[in-house]
Symmetry: T
Subunit: 72 residues, 12 copies
Amino acid sequence: MYGKDRIYKKVEIIGVSSKGIEAAIETAVTKARTSLDKLSWFEVKDIRGHIGDDGKIAEYQVLLKVAFQLKE
Amino acid sequence: MYGKDRIYKKVEIIGVSSKGIEAAIETAVTKARTSLDKLSWFEVKDIRGHIGDDGKIAEYQVLLKVAFQLKE
Amino acid sequence: MYGKDRIYKKVEIIGVSSKGIEAAIETAVTKARTSLDKLSWFEVKDIRGHIGDDGKIAEYQVLLKVAFQLKE
Amino acid sequence: MYGKDRIYKKVEIIGVSSKGIEAAIETAVTKARTSLDKLSWFEVKDIRGHIGDDGKIAEYQVLLKVAFQLKE
Amino acid sequence: MYGKDRIYKKVEIIGVSSKGIEAAIETAVTKARTSLDKLSWFEVKDIRGHIGDDGKIAEYQVLLKVAFQLKE
Amino acid sequence: MYGKDRIYKKVEIIGVSSKGIEAAIETAVTKARTSLDKLSWFEVKDIRGHIGDDGKIAEYQVLLKVAFQLKE
Amino acid sequence: MYGKDRIYKKVEIIGVSSKGIEAAIETAVTKARTSLDKLSWFEVKDIRGHIGDDGKIAEYQVLLKVAFQLKE
Amino acid sequence: MYGKDRIYKKVEIIGVSSKGIEAAIETAVTKARTSLDKLSWFEVKDIRGHIGDDGKIAEYQVLLKVAFQLKE
Amino acid sequence: MYGKDRIYKKVEIIGVSSKGIEAAIETAVTKARTSLDKLSWFEVKDIRGHIGDDGKIAEYQVLLKVAFQLKE
Amino acid sequence: MYGKDRIYKKVEIIGVSSKGIEAAIETAVTKARTSLDKLSWFEVKDIRGHIGDDGKIAEYQVLLKVAFQLKE
Amino acid sequence: MYGKDRIYKKVEIIGVSSKGIEAAIETAVTKARTSLDKLSWFEVKDIRGHIGDDGKIAEYQVLLKVAFQLKE
Amino acid sequence: MYGKDRIYKKVEIIGVSSKGIEAAIETAVTKARTSLDKLSWFEVKDIRGHIGDDGKIAEYQVLLKVAFQLKE
């Protein structure tokens, strides 16, 4: 494929999961697939989380850039 | 809502207004609502402006990231 | 046009070309036109490339932000 | 005062107001005064906001660093 | 809660654990609760680690910003 | 004008005003006009302020880059 | 050891694993040990990943800086 | 020359050309020479461009820092 | 100590001295010790200074992050 | 290849050429091949240049990160 | 002086000295005074140096931003 | 030398000294010379230090990038 003219698009999505960082990334990639074309790669841009009233981590929020090739 | 698997999308828009910084943000948020789903929050990423031939500020241009939850 | 309320959107695309940096930018701008509204300007955010098995540069990959005005 | 050995401390606070950016800064500075020593200056580090269910800006959130001189 | 004047404070803490990244975040959040007010959210700012004499990862060190609302 | 060879210069100035952020920007743009050529645009790079002995914001200090076309 | 003149070198390596972020870091640290001197610490600089044709995460790619003391 | 006390000044200029990135840099360096002292080096800080109504790149805009030695 | 669960806190302080950069760092570390727990390390984040009416450097101002272990 | 445990190394090299930016990148990639293993990709991190006594651009200097897979 | 409308300008200069970092800063401040108005403060932006053929540090090069108030 | 095709390599080293910042830089440059080719220049990227049990600065740690020309 290398060497051929083509373009990719990158969009920012935030995946949320109570289970951990990889689970939040998987949530984002799985759900994004339904509204975007076939994804090629992701880049983690930010990791945050919410702390509940009980002082425990209620969820992880991971900001990703995901990229996919645009059809001509 | 915390703790539930979900994803958000963030997009970059520039709001322009001659009235000031908050007015430019409001322009962006109001107009973006017509083409995007319900917005949740915004982040100011850049503040610029154009200076007219009379040497006065003709308009403020505010680059925002706005986020909204993607439906499954 | 200055002074009038309006909004722009910015999206990230990667243009790829074996010919050089300007060619990769032109690939991105030309192909993006088919799926996006009339583009106004671009900003180069990253320049990368793939090196082939022969040790030569197989392609240039240029990450752009392109901006276009949103119709009301 | 210049030339004399002394130290300052900087802390991060977020001021929130529904009225605008300067109002959020003033909220932060006014309320911080009750728990911190006399403040000397502030630096704006981030400007965000929440968008309500009606699509309007519900509040501005401004992240500041505020500095104050430590007594010996 | 949105729309009401209020302030938050953010502090930097480093959580350390031999078990992994999420465990180091949990260490930080759990222990910070004893000396700080009720925490609201955290942001991961840096991930590092120590490598032991046996060449294995001895511990993960995660730098967080944690935020909590200041009482008036 | 687009497409014609030309150059712009950018300089950094700080505008100060007790009235607010937009007022500080206007101070900078108005006063800069007397010593620089016709200005074209500005970019906000930093927002700071001084806090007086009474604990109120004494002034806003806004660091701008302003740009103007150089005559040949 | 503190207080003694000495130097460290830092190099950038990317560890790849299908199992997760910590596994990719361990891959990098374990394999780097065979070509570099005894490692002291690592810093995570970037987290990325590849998404397979089935829309699942095929692998995690973690960019590390690893440091080791140079012998005199 | 190394080892001798001296100072340099750096200024920001934007060169514009329809021909490409190097042409925009050369425009900036050539024209800057007429109003500034002998230039020593340049650093590319930003690459942008305007897209015309026909969807083609109308011009490249390259932001440079150029440095020159100040005479005593 | 490595491998044991623990947390550190980092705070920002500015040390000021008319004598030079190291002296400003020492001022900060020495005075901070009276109000903070035992310090472990520091990181220089910014170096600034004031220039007096006689055109000479009146003082160096060094922004540090200092870290110390939190007791459980 | 995706999914298999492996590591890459990234090193920083500066390519210099009087002919232009792509030529400087090619100089770096071609010469680096003789002392490093088979290169996989490059990333442009900085573009600079020297200006000769005649006020023309004497050479382009391009800082690259180049990556190559480490053999086990 | 606080609270009064006014503007400052910031320029970038590089001071060079074989004696050390503070000496390079003093060179820059002293020499800049002859061509610029009364300086108010400086900020260190970069510290570099040249290494001679004998492997020793031939000179320190310190990039400063210096600020001065513009007269109306 | 300017205008001739050539490449440089940059590596990251940390110099440590109890005497101060310049001493730590000299330690790094002197010791690096024994394992690397003739060095050309250095860039300071980070300044840190360790604080001893007595609350005094035990050592300065300076992260440098050093550059040297690669022979063909």
